[in-house]
Symmetry: C2
């Protein structure tokens, strides 16, 4: 097993030459990486079969499904890499120019971060996604995946490295940490001088561990306790559509709705209809039925509700469960969100422009919606073309992070002897 | 003494309403804050006299000078506040708009960070500077100054709060932490959910403590081990001018030069002249003479050099001391900088466009200069109009931080019932 420190030293060395990579070189590398990945399909599937076999009795069916690769999924990973070729290269973009009266020229220029470390859990497709985003944005990446997917990720990275070498680049641009114990995660979190940016992608526990232990810059991602507030003036049909979409279209993702806040004037109309629509109607169609965790006012209005427990308004269910609370007005909704949100995505359903404006101004989240589903918070939907994760912090990047969010800038100052 | 936690709770509450502040309101507040500061001149001077008296035997003459306020300095602080009135307000700026085919409109809009905490040392003028920058950028600030300047800062903040109240704003927008022990600094570093951004302004020890202990987002500022590399083709007179300016014009600041790297071909010409210019010529004019900490090759070329010690190439001298090393070529200079720089500002003096390009591409610092002094790294010089500090990290902001760097953004998404 290669020591994590050796991987970091190699990554730092590889990062030295990255600023000079041309867009063409990076795009060529993406193409050869995608080719090499497809050529390695059999190796990757064999490795993945070992991972799946080893986890058979330990993981839920949903997790086993996430872990399992198929030829079609590997093809999808290769397409994901190729999709980056056509996206604009953010590196080298001159963001601002200042000419001083003495002739000094100051250019603010986008440059790669350097070494980006990503700690993630058991989806092997994250390995190729993250590596490709790093290469296109001119960064070196150090990947630390979950142990359940280690053999798969190792095979994927081996293929991607072959692709890099074919394009004339260093294989050290994409490296997998071989130690899958907590020790290697801690090593990345404390690698001051080696890691320029650490992105944890995973559950709340992983994110918390990074925030508590990291000495290197971190972007927190993806914990979403998303709220939808149905105002008194809401179109009830629109509210039901949006709530069903935000809760049920993919409950396991971070932009799914976990909490519904309802204005007390519309609650007697909305909540029985919501219960019918998200529970009985879905069950009748053979779809997963939602259950409701209700506050005392909502409970009598929802036949399939149970009384909310102490933590139900602070839980990312990632499941067919919705917490429901009746509030007095938009201000009460804003206050509830301020106290319970993870600052990911929140929506108001209203016909009142005034209430929409108050909600938009006061809600301190990466994405604030008026009359639309929270499920749109996504790099592709927001026009970034791709996504490394969804930042729930305010420093550097907020919401979906694309290529540009993986860059920083430097000031390049050219003179002819100027002194101050 | 008010508990730090109470201050943080009040700050968070005040931040709730800040997004809605208009530019006019903020500018009015800046004017009333400047007025109130001037009106409080006598109170501030009396408080400052107590601070100075208490520190008389503990601080150096330079530090006492930094701590001491005069009517002129208070006037300068008021002017500093007023200077922000004319600067553009970054808040509310629409940074990007995406219209989706289904009519969903996604606006990326600049918003304040929220609560910005600043930990600084003993210059009372930082109190008014930081408060004014926070108000103009729509942020609440929590100021934690050094204990030597506590009475002065308290009097300044009391005046600024009067100014806020006169403009109809909450006095809690600008608060001073009353506990000046290490405990309050730790409280700010770990105030997850209360502090959106922590900016330490001070010496390397303070910055290190923040990086090691902070659980909230931090921007490291101001540690500058700045290098100037004199290439073989350099104009020697230009190099001498720039070196004298970068070392001597204000040695106590972070953009002063601490290390001179010299190409071996030009060393026999440059180094004796540098010794003469920065030592003997300055001494003859009654100016502070620079001493040199030399590597083995430079030492015989510099009459006022001494052999460099183990740490001399990793020390921010902030004094009339320059470390000098002879290197083989631009690549060796780049490697030295990669190993020893604090990523603040570095310069190359050269006539070679190729070497300039190599240096600019490879040096990973906030500001990289070609044929100019490192002393230009400054918010005013870079056209930002002001400065909260100079970031030496890559996340969020790099180099001088002005008003825009004190904002983040959110995505405001407007629809008419869109689901995904």
């Amino acid at each position: 097993m290669k020591p994590t420190q050796d991987i970091l030293i190699a990554a730092k060395a590889a990062a030295r030459s990255l600023g000079a990579l041309t867009t063409d070189t990076k795009n060529t590398a993406l193409a050869t990486m995608a080719d090499a990945l497809l050529e390695a399909t059999n190796d990757i599937l064999a490795a993945n079969a070992r991972d799946v076999e080893a986890s058979r009795d330990k993981l839920s069916a949903v997790m086993i499904d996430r872990l399992t690769l198929t030829p079609a999924r590997i093809e999808g990973m290769a397409q994901g890499i190729r999709a980056l070729i056509d996206l604009p290269d953010p590196v080298g973009e001159v963001l601002d120019v200042t000419e001083r009266p003495d002739g000094l020229r100051i250019e603010k220029t986008a440059v790669p971060m350097g070494v980006v470390a990503i700690i993630y859990e058991s989806r092997p497709n994250v390995t190729s996604d993250a590596a490709a985003l790093a290469v296109k944005s001119g960064n070196v990446c150090v990947l630390r995946g979950g142990k359940e997917a280690f053999a798969s990720s190792y095979a994927v990275v081996a293929a991607l490295q072959q692709g890099l070498v074919r394009a004339g680049l260093s294989r050290d641009m994409v490296q997998l940490v071989e130690d899958t114990t907590r020790e290697s995660a801690n090593a990345l979190m404390t690698a001051v001088g080696y890691v320029d940016l650490l992105i944890p992608r995973g559950g709340a526990g992983l994110i918390r561990a990074c925030v508590e232990n990291a000495r290197v810059p971190v972007i927190q991602t993806g914990t979403g306790i998303c709220h939808i507030f149905v105002d008194a003036s809401a179109d009830v049909d629109m509210a039901l559509n949006i709530l069903e979409n935000a809760k049920c279209s993919r409950p396991s993702v971070c932009n799914a709705c976990e909490v519904c806040l309802v204005h007390r004037d519309v609650a007697p109309t909305l909540l029985p209809a919501l219960d019918q629509r998200l529970h009985a109607a879905r069950a009748a169609q053979g779809q997963s039925a939602v259950t409701f965790r209700c506050d005392d006012t909502a409970l009598p209005l929802m036949p399939h509700g149970t009384k909310a427990g102490e933590n139900d308004f602070d839980t990312e269910f990632l499941d067919y469960i919705l917490a429901v609370r009746v509030v007095d007005d938009v201000d009460a909704a804003i206050s509830h969100i301020a106290a319970h949100s993870t600052h990911h995505s929140e929506a108001i359903i209203t016909k009142s422009e005034q209430n929409a404006a108050a909600f938009v101004a006061a809600v301190d989240s990466a994405a604030v919606y008026v009359n639309a589903s929270t499920r749109f918070t996504d790099g592709g939907e927001f026009g970034l073309g791709c996504e490394m994760g969804i930042s729930t912090q305010k420093l550097h990047a907020r919401g979906p992070m694309g290529l540009r969010e993986l860059t920083t800038y430097k000031y390049v100052v050219r003179g002819n002897g100027q002194v101050r």
